[in-house]
Amino acid sequence: MEQTSIFYQSEGLASVEVIEVERETTVAALLEILVNKHRWSSEVVLFAEDIDEALDAALLVREIETTSGTKVHAHRCRKIDVAVTFNGTTLPYEYAPSATIARIKRHVAIEGFHLSEEAAAEHVLQIKGSTTQPAPGTHLGALVHHPQCRIAFDLVPKVRVQGAYETIG
């Protein structure tokens, strides 16, 4: 049977993990494999990356494959409340745990704070009260632990690397 790589993120996992499964594996069977591997709660459900609804358990892995890597997210939260602050204004949103930081940043910056595409690209989400700026491919759920299905960010400019130029004239 032909195998494929599934890249997955979840609450409690430090980074992206990868597992090889047969393409004919059902989503239900994939979830069972992951739950057993990581000893997750049975409340966990699977989402495809940047898709709002949980995956249908009857689907086959080959039916959710993408050419740029099949990416899923496992989480107990079905939705996550997101608050983003920019220039003193805070806007509330709701996303699936599988929403990428890149998608959220772009959506909030352009639709919420009316930045241009180019200006939005020069900003980044930073977890409120920290200096942590999750990578664009990070799934929202990787930053949130059930039952606290919420998180807050600041939308901040990307920094230009500068300083100590006296050493190079």
């Binding site: 790589s5 890249f7 980074s15 992206v16 740029s68 180019e118 020069e122 700026q133 690397v161 100590a164």
Partner: protein, 156 residues
């Protein structure tokens, strides 16, 4: 195999590096320890090779320079990524250490003397737990940013 080489090869097997390969953000070209060649794809689909020195990885940050994989030599400045006046020029700066290191807080050769970066740009300071993917993500973000412009002369 020395611990640093084993650690680097282990990180290349992890999901985050493999995902970047699957998304064609980067690709491994060659490991010739302690040198590691990885190419990154820019906004215009052009690939730029970096030659990393990963001595004592991941305790020490790597250091990297632009590399001409065909000539097996430093990439000539005319073929370096260009900037539209923003963040790219600061990092791809041929005047910094004669082009032998990128001007980034996560670069081993660049960080010394820049202690202020620990507070002004902590997100870009080397994190051993994240490993080489941290460096790759920072460079890939620059190469796919609106500030990136193609090199002054076309690739031969």
């Amino acid at each position: 195999m020395a611990p640093d080489e084993r650690a680097l090869l282990g990180d290349l097997e992890k999901g985050l590096f493999r995902l970047g390969v699957a998304e064609q953000n980067w690709r491994l070209e060659r490991v010739q320890w302690p040198k590691v060649h990885i190419a990154l794809r820019a906004r215009d689909c052009r690939w730029f090779s970096l030659r990393f020195d990963c001595t004592n990885y991941p305790v020490w940050a790597p250091t990297a320079c632009l590399w001409d994989f065909e000539r097996d030599a430093c990439l000539v400045v005319e073929l370096w990524p260009k900037s539209r006046g923003g963040r790219v020029a600061a990092v791809f700066n041929p005047g910094w250490k004669d082009g032998s290191a990128l001007y980034l807080p996560c670069d081993r050769e660049t960080m010394p003397g820049h202690d202020a970066w620990l507070t002004t740009m902590p997100a870009l300071v080397w994190r051993p737990a994240d490993g080489i993917v941290q460096y790759l993500e920072i460079v890939h973000e620059l190469l796919t940013s609106h500030d990136y412009a193609q090199p002054a002369v076309p690739t031969p």
